[in-house]
Point group: C2
Chain length 154, copies 2
Amino acid sequence: MADLDATDWKILAVLQEDARVGYRELARRIGMSPAATGARVRRLERRGVITGYSARVDPTRAGYPITAYVVVNTSGRRQSLRVSDLSIRTPTVLEDHRVTGTDDHVLRVIVASLPDLEPLIDELNELGKPATTLVLSSPKSWAPVPKPAHVANS
Amino acid sequence: MADLDATDWKILAVLQEDARVGYRELARRIGMSPAATGARVRRLERRGVITGYSARVDPTRAGYPITAYVVVNTSGRRQSLRVSDLSIRTPTVLEDHRVTGTDDHVLRVIVASLPDLEPLIDELNELGKPATTLVLSSPKSWAPVPKPAHVANS
DNA sequence: TCTGAAAGGTGATAACC
DNA sequence: GGTTATCACCTTTCAGA
């Protein structure tokens, strides 16, 4: 919610693809001076548009060949909050979203093997009705947040 | 699948939290020399454990306040492949996973407003039965791939 | 808000353990 | 694989527009 201009989106495009580029190179790619570029980046960080920088890790190559989505159907606010707590406490739960519909939580989980899912399912079973879906492959596993069409191209 | 040691996991922990740290600082945090640290990082990249570096962008602050999961129930390989193609072609579809169960695709989509979802749903309707779930909030929106328990702590 | 130049910090490499 | 030393280059800052 930030009124980003075309230059901001160029910076976001580059930094989402390669967060380790130097300011000199980043500045060259967006057609501005390094100093002004640095100031823009700091502004994007301060406004909370950029929340951090991460190495993208391939879970499979890091020893977690299995990704699963676990949806949970809880009955009431109390259990829902406990699902959130459990998600936050469990390192292999990489995401937890509260959603509309019959199920109220969607968890993305990575594990080294299927048996490793059991303890989590057992815990979730005490808070609601969990249902597990395994990821077979990911035609698109990641993409940058794109520039909206209504922002000029400059 | 790479047989990562405790030092590799320290590097992954730091780079997943802050991909822009310099080698000097990274080396200091893991207790090794900058040169050896750089060599480790390059090895992790070459082996495909680290697939890249990204700025983490908050979709809401970037103008996409709505995140949705769209599951698609297609009938057959042909349509499934066309869903993959559509996902890859559509910038606001950030992820597409083929999954087990009744539905065979799970898409994560961001949009500026609900009407912006319509064109995608329309296209998916020609390939299968889409069902949309909206994200209300994300108790855990991101987490690093964690060091497995069986790797020594060093 | 951007540019340009000075000063201190950083990344890649080589020689050696 | 690891370290230390080196040098060229890059990031940051600040004055000026």
